[in-house]
């Protein structure tokens, strides 16, 4: 069974005919070639496959295409073209947040999601905000500090 599904992907209207149970993650990677969204656990635990759906953070490995109809999806490839995305990415680079990098696109999405609702987060707010995203390299401290740096540098963006 397939269905026609229309949605907005990184600001552009797109359509795909697919099984409505197909994971959004697979559609992004296999059908749209957006490889910045990573698969690391496949069960919604690690956040590496995070994107924004109607501005809310979701894990695309748990989202069937049927529920994407009519929604706005923003991936790291879209976010990186925005002033907010650039600000977070630059802060991550300067703050030492990046090691192996596999969790980082998802972390950037989590940072955007957090800052959009709380432009001046405390350390505790940040730790809570990224608690759905696992990182095995950094121990999180420098990610937390980098998000704080992004909030400081990007005043007014959020």
């Amino acid at each position: 069974m397939t269905r026609d599904i229309q949605f907005v992907l990184n600001g552009k209207e797109v359509a795909i005919t697919c099984d409505p149970l197909k994971r959004l993650l697979d559609v992004l990677r296999d059908d749209f070639g957006l490889f910045g969204t990573k698969e690391a656990c496949g069960e919604g635990e690690c956040g590496a496959c995070s994107v924004l759906k109607d501005s809310k953070i979701i894990t695309t490995c748990m989202v069937p295409m049927g529920s994407v109809q009519g929604c706005e999806i923003m991936t790291i490839e879209g976010l990186r073209e925005t002033a907010r995305g650039t600000c977070i990415i630059e802060a991550f680079a300067d703050g030492g947040a990046v090691q192996c990098g596999f969790c980082i696109p998802g972390m950037v999405i989590a940072a955007e999601s957090l800052l959009a609702s709380n432009p001046d987060p405390s350390e505790e707010d940040i730790r809570l905000g990224i608690s759905g995203n696992l990182c095995r390299c950094t121990g999180y401290d420098l990610i937390v500090e980098s998000i704080r740096l992004a909030a400081k540098r990007g005043k007014g963006l959020w």
């Binding site: 490889f35 690391a40 990186r80």
Partner: protein, 712 residues
């Protein structure tokens, strides 16, 4: 203008491409006509395969087994010994052993087919635990006694020390499996290329892969070109294990003549990949009437699983670190790696040292508690100093600055005040641990086995390329090497390029393991850069190459394990403060403070990130990363919803200090550090919890439910 110190942070060379999602990892690669593979594995821990029943395979699908290895090829992966089979033939040794590879164009069809493959076995009795392995339960399956290795080192006359002791304090400490959880799962891709093969792999050691698998096709190494792909974490889990993917893929690509990609999903990676060795360490420690330590008799056993892989080397490092940072007057350390019917244990950050360091630290805490003294007071009496004899009757060559580091940690943590304030059993506790890590390969391994080389290429455009087999896996090596070369040549860091290695055109600088890359390969690169600097105007386009030179005066006998096991050590101290809930026994960590001697940092921010990450991994090892084993089905926790690693909410931000203690044979004075920072926090955490609940803890991990059982 004064030259800035090398440690001044620079933006990591790979940071923006990774953070922006532009960096390509193996699963992001695609070639025309590429096929996918799934592994078909043993479903039982021990037995004989009696039948493999396949569903009808659609066109374009193949099932590859040992029978597809061409004449002249050997069904083996050449790691250290040739004991690791590429494909099981008749017998299987553990749940998850590779039996075959199912290959085809559509991944969902492969999943359907995989479910329809049925394998029958004649089952045998497995040995799973250390005790079962030693007892040869079900009959020995490795040699006559299931021991991959068994050796003993002596310092002084421990038998007479034990005989004359006022008291002998016995103890047993155990540690569990630990899964690496590199966020990128294991992945490899093999494709024919003319009369050669190209292997893309998420791997630490491209030259290891080549050496390991070329014999499957009876080819010279040069016919197998290995290209490392950007590696999403490794921690030792991608030292030898990439061979286990690349080998079957090579056999398949030789038959099918197309590119084939194999990417493990998380559950496969959890259930069917190598782990940290579980360990059991027994102590008989001789004390005099005043409670002074006279000697230690130590028995170390590591659970190696079904194949030896690098267990002998892991065990050596465990044994050589078994008396920790202490000058114990007499010691005997026996090490054994026992074969069991579990997935092979393998390299994991620390490489055998974390188990024995945890054991000796925890053992000393138990002695201190029995003597009624603070563990710090007991331990600090025995700190190794420059010139002291080591456990292998070598010497400590460097200045040991543990006292200075201790001052830093005591001041930052408020240790002494908190010890006075938090009574044992009060629910609050602070613990402290001491640790070291011998840099680079053990003994004369760098000189006799690795013989590393490094090459630089000056190009006509004025850029310099680093051509080595060492790999970036997240630890910051690209940045460190870029800085070393740029600093030596006096050119901008943006003029130095360090692409992911390709075995066809880089020098074999040895594996990216053993905290050796900055210290050893970095120094060779410095030499190659010095030569390039001298010859800079000689030509527009030329290469320089240098090789490892072993510092004089460090004898080592690899047969007796006597002499200088390591020329330089990194040193660490960690303090951890906890509060334990009296009802649920949930442990809240209130503070983490550390000090490390890594010589001189090549990049302070990279080092900071390594310290933070290593310490959190070590705390996870002690506090929560429980990996149970079902004797017939294998690992029980195979996904990230049940194998629990630390989140951002589990531990507070850390205080981390460094001391400046340049190492004369390292680039700009640097020593190794990637593993050191894993080696100690687990012991500090357990010390803190033990004090908070006033109970000796002898096994990790200790999640709340286990602590509750212990307290019952």
């Amino acid at each position: 203008m004064a030259k800035k110190p090398i440690g001044t942070p620079m933006r990591r060379t790979d940071a923006v491409s990774k953070a922006s999602g532009a960096e390509k990892y193996l699963s992001d690669m695609h070639f025309d006509g590429m096929l996918y593979a799934r592994m078909v594995r043993s479903g039982i821990p021990r037995g004989i395969i009696t039948d493999i029943s396949l569903p009808p395979l659609p066109d374009g699908y193949r099932f590859i087994t040992y029978k597809d290895i061409p004449a002249g090829g050997n069904n083996e992966l050449v790691m250290i010994k040739k004991d690791y089979r590429c494909f099981a033939e008749q017998d299987v040794r553990y749940v998850g052993e590779t039996i075959g590879l199912l290959v085809g164009p559509d991944r969902s069809v492969l999943v359907d087919l995989l479910e329809k493959i049925s394998i029958s076995y004649e089952e045998q009795v497995p040995a799973v635990t250390i005790d079962e392995g030693l007892a040869c339960k079900g009959g020995a399956f490795v040699g006559e006694n299931n021991l991959f290795c068994d050796f003993t080192i002596h310092k002084g006359d421990i038998d007479s020390v034990l005989a004359d002791a006022h008291r002998i304090f016995e103890d047993e400490i155990t540690t569990g499996w630990q899964e690496h959880v590199h966020l990128e799962t294991n992945a490899a891709l093999v494709m024919p290329d003319g009369d050669k093969f190209v292997v893309y792999a998420s791997a630490q050691c491209p030259f290891y892969v080549r050496k390991s698998i070329a014999g499957l096709l009876n080819r010279p190494y040069e016919d197998i070109v290995v290209r490392q792909t950007t590696t999403g974490g490794a921690f030792g889990g991608k030292e030898h294990f990439p061979d286990v993917l690349a080998g079957p893929l090579l056999v398949a690509a030789n038959v099918i003549k197309k590119p084939i990609q194999l990417v493990f999903d998380r559950h496969e990676d959890g259930a069917y990949s190598v782990k940290r060795h579980p360990s059991r360490t027994r102590f008989k420690t001789a004390l005099d009437e005043q409670g002074n330590i006279l000697g230690m008799d130590i028995d170390v056993v590591y659970n190696a699983g079904g194949y030896e892989s690098c267990s002998y080397v892991v065990l050596q490092r465990g044994v050589f670190h078994a008396t920790g940072v202490y000058n114990i007057p007499a010691s005997r350390v026996r090490g054994r790696a026992v074969a069991t019917n579990t997935f092979p244990s393998d390299a994991f950050r620390g490489f055998g040292a974390p188990q024995t360091l945890f054991a000796v630290e925890t053992h000393l805490c138990h002695i201190a508690a029995a003597l009624g003294v603070d563990p710090l007071a007991l331990k600090s009496k025995y700190f190794l100093r420059q010139g002291d004899p080591t456990v292998t009757n070598g010497h400590v060559f460097e200045k040991v600055v543990l006292p200075e580091m201790l001052d830093q940690v005591l001041q930052a943590s408020g240790y002494e005040q908190k010890v006075a304030e938090y009574k044992r059993g009060s629910g609050k506790g602070i613990g402290i641990s001491f640790y070291n890590h011998g840099g680079a390969f053990t003994g004369n391994g760098e000189q006799m086995i690795i013989k590393a080389k490094a090459r630089l290429h000056k190009r006509a455009d004025g850029c310099v390329e680093i051509l080595v087999g060492s790999t970036e896996m997240g630890q910051g090596l690209q940045t460190a090497f870029t800085k070393i070369v740029a600093d030596t040549l006096g050119i901008g860091e943006d003029k130095v390029l360090y692409p992911n290695p390709d075995t066809a055109n880089v020098a074999d600088s040895g594996p990216t393991v053993a905290s050796r890359s900055t210290m050893i390969v970095g120094k060779i690169l410095e030499g190659a850069a010095l030569e390039m600097k001298e010859r800079w105007n000689e030509s527009e386009d030329f290469f320089t190459e240098d090789e490892y030179k072993h510092p004089e005066g460090h004898p080592w006998d690899q047969n007796t394990f006597q002499g200088d096991a390591y020329i330089a050590y990194g040193w660490g101290i960690c303090a951890v403060e906890v509060e334990v809930d009296p009802l649920t026994h949930e442990v809240v960590t209130k503070g983490i403070w550390s000090s490390h001697d890594i010589g001189v940092p090549i990049d302070e921010l990279v080092v900071h990130g390594q310290i933070n990450g290593g310490i959190i991994q070590s705390l996870g090892y002690a506090a929560m990363e429980k990996l149970d084993f079902h004797p017939k089905k294998g690992f029980k926790q195979v996904g990230l919803s049940d194998y629990i690693i630390p989140t951002s909410m589990d531990f507070p931000s850390q205080g981390a200090s460094l001391v400046h203690n340049p190492y004369p044979y390292g680039p700009s004075g640097a020593k190794g550090m990637g593993e050191l920072v894993f080696n100690g926090a687990s012991a500090a955490f357990i010390d803190a919890v033990s004090r908070a609940v006033d109970k000796d803890i002898r096994a990790i991990p200790i999640p709340p439910e286990t602590l509750t059982e212990l307290m019952a």
